[in-house]
């Protein structure tokens, strides 16, 4: 199906473990984004990418790593998960940096 998908939808992990959240889009959008959403903070940008092999930090990048070897995929890795990284993570894509963003369904991550 066309669109933007995220996996897994739910994840429980333990402090210190490495976790990778996957994001895949079928529109060939140039830009892809990772946000975390927490009550009281709204959507906060973690990292974004303008094209394959081009990534840049957002507002809250510490503790996260991204890569984009292919246009359609933009995985987010928590190298050593902490409890403060418990959140709902959204991936989004768009044609240009200032245009409509299309969001995935989110991944709910719980770090114990």
């Amino acid at each position: 199906d066309a669109g933007i998908t995220q996996s897994p939808r739910y994840k429980i992990t333990e402090t210190g473990r490495q976790v990778t959240l996957m994001c895949h889009q079928t529109w060939s959008h140039s830009y892809m984004f990772w946000y975390r959403q927490d009550l009281g903070h709204g959507l906060r940008l973690i990292y974004y990418s303008a094209a394959a092999d081009i990534t840049d930090k957002g507002e809250v990048p510490d503790g996260y790593v991204v890569s984009r070897s292919k246009t359609e995929n933009f995985p987010l890795t928590l190298e050593s998960a902490t409890r403060s990284q418990t959140s709902v993570y959204f991936c989004a894509s768009s044609w240009t940096v200032g245009e409509t963003q299309y969001f995935g369904p989110g991944t709910r991550l719980l770090v114990l």
Binding site: F33, G40, H41, G42, L43, L45, Y48, F90, A92, T96, V97, G98, E99, T100, Q101, Y102, F103, G104, P105, G106
Partner: protein, 112 residues
């Protein structure tokens, strides 16, 4: 730093009532987008307003962009339980190389 302030943060009203939520900034935007996010899902674009003073209608929802392109409002007529959700505004900066900025949202609950 450009900010978008949304008010109120929370709103709970009875079915059939009218309501208005606001999105304000001290900065000028080239356009402003409104998204709705339902529980367990990602935000979905409702409308984009581009011209100062522009009014767009989407069934019972009326969106207005301020004359100075610094603020916007969303008015819902005869609210229904299906309108329940988080309403996010997002501004596209004048500089086309800058990312869109999201407000923290208004969480709306319509009581049947």
């Amino acid at each position: 730093t450009q900010l978008l302030e949304q008010s109120p943060q929370f709103l709970s009203i009875q079915e059939g009532e009218n309501l208005t939520v606001y999105c304000n900034s001290s900065s000028v935007f080239s356009s402003l987008q409104w998204y709705r996010q339902e529980p367990g899902e990602g935000p979905v674009l409702l409308v984009t307003v581009v011209t100062g003073g522009e009014v767009k209608k989407l069934k019972r929802l009326t969106f207005q962009f301020g004359d100075a392109r610094k603020d916007s409002s969303l008015h819902i007529t005869a609210a229904q339980p299906g309108d329940t959700g988080l309403y996010l505004c997002a501004g596209a900066p004048l500089n086309r190389d800058d990312k869109i900025i999201f407000g923290k949202g208004t969480r709306l609950h319509i009581l049947p």
